[in-house]
Amino acid sequence: MPVQFLSDDWAKALTAAASEHAEFMSAASGKHAIFELSVADSPAADVYHMEFSGDSFTVRAGAPTGDSDIKAKLDYATNVTISRGQLTGQAAAMTGRMQVTGNIEKMMSLGKALDLLARVEESLDITY
């Protein structure tokens, strides 16, 4: 079943696929961070977050209940480009296509895991 990018269903599907992706889980292992993304012009959620909690990883539509460590602002088209693996999250952050503020050390420590997310998303049927 196709899922709409940045919808609740997409968040659930991505969480499940990521948890089964060995390389991703190894890159995410031991990381503790909440990464909140605000997406302009999104046809689905305009805010979502990723929670790295040591041995688990969760994506949810909407803002986190607690404080986020890292906040990012980007437009929908850029987020689609990242999701499709045509631009890495690190490259987007470093070149300003995604504006990041907060704990930059945490953001950089998530770099390899974030870059693998696009590979995880390849296994999903996503409608953009």
Partner: protein
């Protein structure tokens, strides 16, 4: 091959900010402007070491490498050709603009422009620091070091070692991987990190002759609320005591003292952390003057 890092040129809208930051915080000397669109900063009796060219975005424009003499410059040109790396002789205008006698221009990995030069202009006994400091460590060690992002480390390694003749000093692998290269006793004149799809300048390191120069600069940044990117710390490899401050052009300045030298008996090491102590990353935004590289 190349003997030292001679100069760095960046594009930035922040010329006015540099006019205060360069001399008042870093102790550099601002050259009297010949051109409204270029600000040149000095660290010693060389004509200039850092040039800020007016531009809409912060980006790295070029790195200048001193070949030492024209024979070596000619040899550099031949090595670039032999290794299939692009290289051409700089025009008279390009040489005049950089105040050098001769130049070879080479496009490095990710499209970063390198200028290998000979005969940089020197004006003896003219350097006047922008604030009282004991002085910058330059001479045979050049202006300092640069840390660059490149899209592909392997390709970059070939260019910098086979093309420019730099030698690997060591590697640090943490959540990012860094490879360090030297071309004189300075532990590294260049370090590289791989960010796929990205090229540019992470930081420029300026070394001062006294730890108090570092401390006074740290105080000035605090007093003026200039954002510190990384707190005071000591690196594992060059053992430099330094802090990082965000420059007006996005990239950081590492301001340091006390680095070790590499000699003939140097052997390459690997480390799993960047610092013995300190260097806590406290910046709230990512550093750098980076650009996307078309894939």
């Amino acid at each position: 091959m190349v003997k030292s890092l001679a100069y760095v040129g960046v594009a930035s809208p922040a010329l006015a900010e540099w006019e205060a930051f360069g001399p008042e915080v870093l102790g550099m000397e601002v050259r009297e402007r010949e051109n409204d669109d270029v600000l040149q900063l000095r660290m010693d009796d060389r004509h200039h070491r850092l040039a800020i060219h007016r531009g809409e975005r912060n980006s790295l424009l070029y790195l200048g490498w001193d070949a030492g003499d024209e024979d070596t410059l000619g040899a550099c040109f031949e090595v670039l050709q032999r290794n299939g790396l692009s290289g051409r002789w700089g025009t008279e205008e390009e040489c005049q603009e950089r105040r050098v006698l001769s130049m070879v221009v080479a496009d490095g990995p990710g499209g970063i422009r390198h200028e290998i030069v000979s005969g940089q202009k020197v004006e003896p006994k003219t350097f006047r620091p922008g604030r009282p400091i004991s002085g910058f460590v330059t001479g045979e060690e050049g202006m300092g070091h640069v840390v660059l992002a490149v899209p592909d480390l392997k390709e970059a390694h070939t260019f910098y070692t086979s093309g420019l003749g730099l030698r690997k000093s060591d590697e640090i692998s943490t959540f990012i991987d860094l490879v360090f290269y030297h071309c004189n006793p300075r532990h590294h004149s260049l370090a590289l990190t791989q960010i796929p799809g990205v090229r540019g300048l992470h930081h420029v390191m300026l070394e001062v002759a006294d730890i108090d120069d570092v401390g006074l600069a740290y105080d000035l940044c605090m007093e003026r609320s200039i954002p510190i990117s990384m707190t005071l710390g000591r690196h594992v490899n060059d053992q430099m005591v330094s802090f990082y401050v965000r420059s007006p052009s996005g990239f950081d300045i590492e301001y340091g003292w006390g680095a070790i030298s590499v000699g003939a008996d140097w052997s390459v090491a690997q480390y799993d952390r960047p610092s013995i102590w300190g260097h806590k990353m406290i910046a709230q935004t990512p550093p750098g003057a980076f650009e996307e590289v078309p894939r």
